[in-house]
């Protein structure tokens, strides 16, 4: 299917950029006439993925986070969120609800579960030592 719109962003892995990243992606889809619920779900999922790059991928060291978003003719949005950080050894384990490698930092282990429940599909690819890419897929305006 044809891609009708796309955008790219890159920014340093600072926690103050979490709000910027989720509102940028949310602004990108405005022309698709999303519902408030859809926007809120999207912002939440993007926030989870970006926070993971900062907290886990780069372990609070400085690095760059890359976002690529595209929209297809049928209003399907794809958002790829990528870091070049430490990577994930066991992806299926990492995606289990309540699994976290940083309980001491007050993490709940819910990020992937939230992304999965707030998007239609979530794909994760990762290589230890090379980084992680999370792909969020969400149909916008599906109920309208």
């Amino acid at each position: 299917m044809k891609t009708v719109n796309q955008m790219r962003l890159s920014f340093p892995s600072k926690s103050r950029n979490e709000a910027f990243a989720r509102s940028a992606v949310s602004s990108f889809v405005t022309s698709l006439d999303p519902t408030l619920n859809e926007l809120n779900d999207l912002k939440t999922a993007v926030s989870e993925a970006v926070t993971n790059c900062i907290v886990h991928g780069y372990r609070r060291q400085s690095g760059t986070i890359y976002i690529y978003a595209s929209v297809k003719e049928d209003n399907t949005l794809t958002v790829k969120i990528r870091d070049k950080g430490v990577g994930i050894e066991d992806i299926s384990k990492a995606m289990e609800p309540l699994f976290t490698t940083s309980p001491g930092e007050e993490r709940a282990g819910l990020g992937f579960a939230v992304m999965q429940s707030f998007c239609d599909r979530v794909k994760v690819s990762s290589q230890v030592g090379r980084g992680t890419t999370v792909t969020l897929i969400k149909r916008i305006g599906a109920n309208g």
Binding site: S15, R16, E18, A19, N37, N40, K43, T44, S47, E48, T51, I54, V55, P97, L98, E105, E106, R107, A108, L110, G111, A113, V114, S117
Partner: protein, 100 residues
């Protein structure tokens, strides 16, 4: 970003705006600082004015739950908007009986 109130041994924190990993770090410091000096019997987190929350908010609540237990008090979470309740519901926090 956060107002606190202390009355009848209850410390209430009124959270406001967007609650993510960035703001949770600052909110946690404010609340823990107040709780350590006031030693409330109950810490109440009021979510009425929270417009956005991700899983960092769950971490914040679970952390305060443990903190209040250590200080010999309890935690209550009130006025949670529907959109945010969805995330709490995924977390098992309901079973702790802190959500109102």
């Amino acid at each position: 970003m956060i107002k606190t109130e202390f009355e009848n041994n209850i410390l209430t924190a009124y959270l406001e705006g967007e609650l993510d990993h960035d703001s949770a770090c600052r909110i946690r410091q404010r609340i823990d600082c107040a709780a350590r000096s006031l030693r409330p019997k109950t810490l109440c987190l009021n979510f009425e004015k929270v417009s956005f929350m991700d899983s960092s908010g769950v971490g914040l609540v679970m952390g305060r739950y443990r903190q209040m237990k250590l200080l010999g008090g309890s935690l209550k979470v009130t006025c949670v908007p529907d959109s945010i309740y969805r995330i709490f519901a995924m977390s098992g926090l309901e079973a702790l009986g802190v959500l109102r």
